[in-house]
């Protein structure tokens, strides 16, 4: 075990993956010897050479096109998109190509070796274009897996699983926590199951569902609610596609109440998918309406970030409203 922050955990996963197979390649804008703007790929060029970890020209659609081709050839392609906000030029390559590669060919070809890493989320004074949480766009796309870790331990184990999973995986890293979140992380290789939710805290009164950096807000809100005598169960969804509806439904059948929280805007967000599924599976168990605590339906603001941000107080208020419904 070693104390690592989330970036170090990611770097450690990449290091292990590249040591494990010569067919693992890591690339993106500025990710070569410079190590990326967040330094997630630090030291990899020195260790594995500039043909294994390298810079790309500044073209996201090219990065993903290249990555799809490399993965279809049988390599493990780890493509970094510098910010989730800049993933959209690559949207076609991800949605129409990566996601459909196996299906459209009848399994003649696949890009299972593809992993797309991208930092997402706000709370860093990044304004419109360094703060977005675009997971829902991709969660509407059969064929992709989407994973969003909440801490260094989860990040390393999940990233290693994502790299070697036989399906293309979009791995969204909570950049607010890159250095802020630290914890004990095994130095050796280990993997965590994709598609499986994690019950972070057990409780009997109300279920909170969150993923990525938002789990921290759920935990803080639950702490505050505990002072009022409310016992919250917290579920980290971990994977958004495919997602673990069973674990969530089981929890809601026990508590009868659900608060789903996400950083992204409310309308058509993944929280809506969770709410719709839970009302379908748990209709007769519900004691109060399912609450979605989300960003406003505005572009991500700069000067009003604090007001816009889905902090623990907003989640706490939703918990109280649900309990007193």
């Amino acid at each position: 075990m070693a104390k690592m922050n989330l970036l170090q955990a990611i770097n450690s996963a990449l290091d292990i993956a590249m040591a494990k197979s010569e067919k693992v390649y890591s690339f993106g804008e500025d990710t070569g010897s410079f190590g990326g703007v967040f330094r997630a790929t630090s030291g990899l060029t020195e260790k594995y050479g500039r043909h294994r970890n390298f810079n790309t020209p500044l073209v996201e659609q090219g990065i993903l096109g290249f990555a799809n081709g490399l993965a279809s050839q049988g390599s493990y392609a780890i493509a970094e998109i510098q910010f989730g906000d800049y993933i959209f030029p690559a949207f076609d390559q991800i949605v129409n190509e990566s996601a459909k590669f196996r299906y459209r060919s009848g399994n003649e070809f696949n890009v299972g070796g593809l992993t797309i890493r991208t930092p997402y989320g706000g709370g860093i004074a990044g304004g419109h274009y360094h703060s977005q949480s675009p997971e829902a766009y991709f969660a509407h796309t059969p064929g992709l897996k989407i994973v969003m870790p909440r801490n260094p331990y989860m990040a390393k184990g999940l990233l290693l699983s994502a790299i070697f999973d036989p399906n293309p995986v979009l791995f969204m890293e909570p950049k607010r926590l890159y250095r802020a979140s630290t914890g004990e992380v095994p130095e050796e290789e280990y993997s965590l199951e994709l598609g499986k939710a994690d019950v972070v805290r057990e409780g009997k009164d109300l279920t909170i569902v969150a993923w990525g950096a938002q789990v921290e807000m759920a935990e803080k809100a639950a702490d505050k609610a505990a002072e009022d005598g409310i016992d919250c169960e917290i579920i980290d969804l971990v994977s958004l596609l495919p997602w673990d509806a069973e674990t969530v439904a089981k929890s809601v059948m026990k508590t009868g109440r659900l608060v789903v929280t996400q950083e992204a805007p409310l309308t058509s967000g993944f929280a809506s998918e969770v709410a719709a599924t839970v009302q379908d599976k748990c209709f007769l168990y519900l004691e109060s309406p399912i609450a979605r605590v989300c960003g406003l339906d505005t572009p991500y603001p700069l000067c009003h970030e604090k007001e816009y941000f889905v902090d623990h107080l907003k989640v706490y208020e939703a918990i109280k409203a649900s309990m007193t419904y």
Partner: protein, 399 residues
């Protein structure tokens, strides 16, 4: 002359713009339109067997295209894309490759696939979306693919295959495989961002890729000159990206073959990506959903008919005494019979079992998909007459 050391540029003192048409790239032609050899041209080494295989494939594709357009008109298949007039571009280039080289097509390269050995039955199974189709009936007709033949499955979005070719070739280079990737696309697709991304990255990484542009004059109805681009076609872009580039007569199978053979050597031996622009003409409509009479003249089509790649090659082969008119007629009749027989057989083969609907979305179907399939099957059992393709063998049918 003074030099800027940082950029290694010569310094001038006069403001002079380089004209957009300064670079005019010539076109390689070996066979003239009448099938005779251009004076001074070096005919590529080509034995009789290979030449006849190329000719055979051209004949096959011509009759396949013709019959399948007819089949679409009769309502037997939903859609078709013909490569009429462009057979030399795909077959001549495919003939210059090794079987281990990857082919990434756009959707008008059935010639390259046939040359690789895709059988007439395999063509038909795909066109009829039946249960023998390698693609499991999931894509529209002509979206062929075969891992065994190193022919990447076709996808409809334009140009997406071009940066993928760069990535695939990068992997081939790193594996020291001694193979390359050829990537086909049209002059219209070369306007897409993916084209520019792909060529730039290929030149930067020095990958063994051959980018083959079939400049066939039209992107559906939009003419290339003046509406798709203002410059000298696609070829100068290769030069701008720092890539070896050549323009060939795309209707001259010998020129296409020679250029691709040399390109392959550059790609595999020197890791030099190459751009080839083959000048041709889409004699057919864009697809069976298109009617070219609305945007081009009969005269224009007739002018190009005179440049027909098949007739040109046939004349050459007859002059060389490798073929007679009678041989050509016999080959054509034999191909036609094979196409018709396979067509009749393929249309009787049932559609893939409904269980295939959820396979291959992932390596194994997740729980949600299994539940959705069971719900769907319960629904089909309730209304079997509404779903005749699958209802009869929904239970007990092979998976």
């Amino acid at each position: 002359m003074a030099k800027d050391k940082q950029h290694q540029l010569e310094i001038v003192t006069e403001p002079k713009f380089i004209d957009g048409s300064a670079l005019k790239i010539p076109m390689l032609q070996i066979l003239k339109e009448d099938g005779t050899v251009q004076k001074g041209a070096q005919v590529p080494e080509l034995d009789k067997e290979l030449a006849l295989k190329m000719f055979d494939t051209m004949q096959f594709i011509r009759i396949l295209d013709e019959r399948m357009i007819a089949a679409q008109r009769q309502g037997r298949i939903s859609f078709y894309l013909s490569s009429l007039g462009e057979e030399a571009a795909s077959i001549g280039s495919a003939a210059a490759l090794d079987d281990g080289d990857m082919i990434m097509g756009q959707y008008r390269e059935q010639g390259a696939l046939a040359y690789r050995g895709f059988t007439v039955e395999q063509f038909m199974d795909q066109l009829f979306s039946n249960e023998r189709d390698l693609g499991k009936g999931r894509q529209m007709p002509v979206h062929y693919g075969s891992a065994e033949l190193n022919f990447m499955t076709i996808a409809s979005p334009l140009a997406t295959q071009i940066p993928q070719a760069t990535g695939y070739a990068f992997g081939q280079k790193m594996d020291k495989s001694g193979t390359c990737t050829i990537c086909y696309f049209g002059e219209g697709a070369a306007s897409e961002g993916d084209f520019h991304a792909a060529l730039n990255m290929a030149a930067v990484y020095k990958v063994p890729a051959i980018f083959f542009c079939r400049n066939n004059g039209y992107a559906i109805s939009t003419p290339s000159q003046g509406e798709q681009y203002a410059g000298d076609g696609i070829a100068p872009r290769g030069v701008a990206y720092g890539m070896k580039t050549i323009r060939v007569d795309g209707n001259d199978i010998l020129a296409v073959y020679q250029a691709t053979q040399m390109a392959r050597k550059l790609a595999v031996e020197d890791n030099e990506p190459v751009l080839i622009e083959g000048m041709s003409y889409r004699m057919a409509g864009h697809s069976t959903s298109d009617d070219p009479t609305g945007y081009r003249t009969r005269d224009e089509e007739d002018a190009w008919r005179a440049k027909d790649p098949l007739a040109r090659f046939q004349t050459y082969l007859i002059k060389k005494k490798w073929l007679t008119e009678k041989d050509a007629e016999e080959i054509f009749a034999e191909k036609k019979a094979a196409v018709l027989a396979a067509l009749k057989k393929a249309e009787k083969v049932p559609a893939p079992h409904i269980d295939e609907l959820i396979n291959d979305v992932y390596d194994t179907p997740p729980q949600q998909l299994k539940e959705q399939l069971e719900q769907l099957k319960a629904h089909i059992r309730k209304y079997p007459e509404a779903y005749p393709k699958t209802a009869s063998r929904i239970d007990g049918g092979e998976k």
